[in-house]
């Protein structure tokens, strides 16, 4: 058995004449938490749907849990837990009925006990008779996670699982994900949150159907070769206007009381800073953050839908 839970190459999906996912290669190791980032409409959901057999790729090949993604979709479905972006369990069924339904579909052995275990693990036991439609966002997310874990999958595909969930519930959720990964489960997760991206073992950045960067957080930052200056002080607006448009300045972004100025050509950027620099502000050269890197990638990526 290969070391990779996901090992695909050249995966492509077209809807009409739009190429939504363009020749993506991806390898995810077993037991790894792999983050999938990118702007809305970048093809993340389409890619995940191809992995779990909901869509058939137009081109490409590869395996998911050792099964062929083009031909063995039924086997893949049996060993993958997929959590959709939108809550997609039955709102008119209670928590327990939803879990029981999914357990029956997967023919989980000793179903009643499995449902009970899953209720307790995600602390849903004392709400088990509540209808799913009456739950708040955080509890719905917990139910969805419980449901996609009930058949003990080897791979979890989570599509923006924490959208609209409060910070405490998000933190609990990530603790749970790390616990599952420690037990050997592989997790592919899409998110827009930078703090969540940093909690992944490795990540990939997708924009307009193209894979633009991948690796550990440090790898991704290093490969971007981005230099960032942080400016603090009064009247940052004037500084920003003065910097924009100068050679070497690619991004000027306000972060609270500071300004992040970034560019890939360090020498040009330093020269631009030197021209504007004054004594009234503190000027610090710092490592680029993940967000600086992603915004830089997005700006340079060609929007093939535009």
């Amino acid at each position: 058995m290969s070391d990779f839970a996901i090992d695909v190459a050249g995966v492509t999906k077209r809807f009409g004449d739009k190429t939504v996912v363009n020749a993506i290669d991806l390898q995810v190791r077993r037991g790894e938490i792999y983050g999938f980032l990118g702007p809305n409409g970048s093809g993340k959901t389409t890619f995940i749907r191809m992995l779990c057999g909901l869509l058939t790729p137009d081109a490409g090949r590869g395996t998911c849990l050792g099964f062929d993604v083009l031909r063995q979709q039924a086997e893949i479905k049996r060993h993958v837990g997929y959590m959709t972006q939108r809550f997609s369990y039955y709102e008119d069924l209670s928590i327990r009925e939803n879990l029981d339904f999914i357990a029956r579909i997967y023919a989980v052995p000793d179903r009643a006990a499995a449902v009970q275990r899953s209720l307790e693990r995600l602390r849903l036991a004392n709400r088990s008779h509540q209808l799913a439609g009456e739950l708040s966002g955080g509890w719905k997310q917990r139910l969805a996670l419980a449901a996609c874990l009930i058949h003990s999958p080897q791979l979890l595909l989570l599509d923006e699982p924490t959208a609209g969930v409060d910070p405490k519930a998000r933190r609990d959720f990530w603790d749970e994900i790390h616990q599952l990964a420690a037990d050997g489960l592989t997790v592919l997760i899409t998110t827009h949150y930078m703090d969540e991206a940093e909690r992944c073992h490795r990540l990939a950045y997708l924009a307009y159907g193209q894979l633009l960067a991948r690796g550990t957080v440090a790898d991704v930052i290093a490969s971007a070769k981005l230099t960032t200056w942080i400016v603090a002080g009064p009247r940052l607006r004037a500084i920003a206007d003065a910097l924009r448009g100068r050679a070497g300045v690619e991004q000027v972004v306000a972060f609270g009381n500071t300004l992040h100025v970034s560019g890939r050509e360090a020498a040009q950027l330093d020269a631009a800073i030197a021209a504007v620099r004054d004594a009234g502000h503190t000027w610090t050269r710092a490592a680029a953050s993940l967000e600086d890197v992603f915004i830089g990638l997005m700006d340079t990526a060609r929007d093939n839908f535009a």
């Binding site: 479905k77 008119d92 029956r104």
Partner: protein, 377 residues
């Protein structure tokens, strides 16, 4: 490993039953529609209306004129509610719709009758609704021939109505008293099933797609046929409950004589219920949302109720309409059910109507499954 499995089918069936129980409105519709239609069609609608308001302009006061009026009353079709003093008043009553008929008996009626001059009685009808006046007019015509047989005796006997050259004997089989309910209540079973079965299944799959639960279902190993059949089974049960309700009402509330085998009705109904569910499933694969699904169901329902022979006599329709009607499952089901319940038909009698029904079922299922598969992958 893309096999059909019973445990997944059962999971869907159970889920559908729970959802059905929770969805009060739909559940109410499934029980409420048959009850409401039973009440409306069973009690309110009558294609053989009697006791119609009639104005009488009786100028002649002779015994024969009065005997004629009494006979008209006796027929139960005419309820004499007004006496018109003049032609103008009679015309006004008819114009305003206060009466359905005006009976004019002229002043020389008795005299001319006794002279053998065949006096004229003018029966004016508000025939804007032919269905309302038809049976009454027919009754009046037959009455004229025989009304005075008892009074014209001795030398007057020569004035009696003469028998025609042919003795036309009429035997009205199966429903001799022409009771509308006998025809309507069994037919109602087909109408109620068409209405509820198509709408409910048209909604069943569209709802999954609209609520986003379809994506989840597709990500599990469940097969299309398991979803489809799993969704159909609970509604077959519902269909049989509706049928039973109507049959009970037919027997005990409307006293419809149930001549044939009820078991045969139940067996044949399986094909009819399944055909309607297959239509619903097909609609649900075409509709983008629940509203569209309901609209499509109505497009199917309207010709079913109008062209099947439920409301209007099938043989009275032009050929193209009969052609459309012959495609619809309700047309054949009505004939089968009326045949079994009113005429006591057996399996051999209904076979010619069963084949078109089965053919419709097979085609609807094929279209449904084909469409369903395409939208799945």
């Amino acid at each position: 490993m893309r096999r059909f499995t019973l445990h997944r089918l059962w999971a869907i069936v159970l889920k559908e039953f729970i959802q059905m129980r929770r969805d009060r409105v739909t559940f109410g519709m499934m029980v409420g529609i048959p009850l409401m239609q039973l009440m409306l069609f069973g009690f309110a609608i009558n294609s053989d209306p009697r006791h119609l308001p009639t104005a009488l302009r009786l100028v002649d006061q002779g015994p024969y004129a009065r005997a004629l009026v009494a006979a008209l009353r006796q027929s139960e079709y005419f309820a004499i509610t007004r006496e018109a003093a003049s032609e103008a008043e009679a015309a006004r009553l008819l114009q305003r719709g206060e009466v359905q008929f005006v009976i004019n008996i002229p002043e020389d009626f008795t005299r001319r009758l006794l002279r053998g001059e065949r006096p004229t009685v003018l029966l004016e009808a508000d025939a804007s609704d032919p269905a309302a006046t038809g049976p009454a007019l027919a009754a009046a015509r037959t009455l004229a021939g025989s009304v005075f047989d008892r009074d014209l005796t001795g030398p007057l006997a020569r004035l009696r109505g003469k028998p025609g050259p042919v003795d036309f004997q009429v035997h009205a089989h199966y429903n001799p008293e022409n009771i509308t309910q006998y025809n309507v209540v069994p037919g109602l079973m087909g109408v109620v099933l068409t209405m509820t079965m198509v709408v409910i299944t048209a909604l069943a799959i569209t709802r999954e797609r609209e609520r986003g639960t379809m994506e989840n279902l597709l990500a599990t190993p469940v097969r299309p046929a398991e979803v489809m059949i799993g969704k159909i089974i609970p509604y077959i049960v519902v269909g049989y409950i509706q049928m039973t309700l109507i049959l009970l009402a037919a027997r005990f509330l409307f006293r419809v004589p149930l001549e044939g085998s009820l078991a045969l009705v139940y067996v044949v109904s399986f094909a009819f219920i399944a055909a309607n569910l297959a239509v619903g499933i097909t609609f649900s694969t075409l509709a983008k949302n629940q509203l569209q699904a309901v609209q499509m169901a109505f497009f199917f329902f309207l010709p079913s109720i109008l062209l099947s022979g439920f409301m209007f006599p099938f043989r009275g329709m032009p050929e193209w309409a009969q052609g459309i009607g012959s495609v619809l499952p309700l047309t054949h089901y009505l004939r089968i059910v009326r045949g079994i319940l009113l005429k006591g038909s057996g399996p051999a009698d209904i076979a010619p109507e069963l084949w078109p029904l089965l053919a419709f079922l097979v085609i609807a299922l094929l279209v449904g499954v084909k469409r369903y598969r395409q939208t799945l992958d």
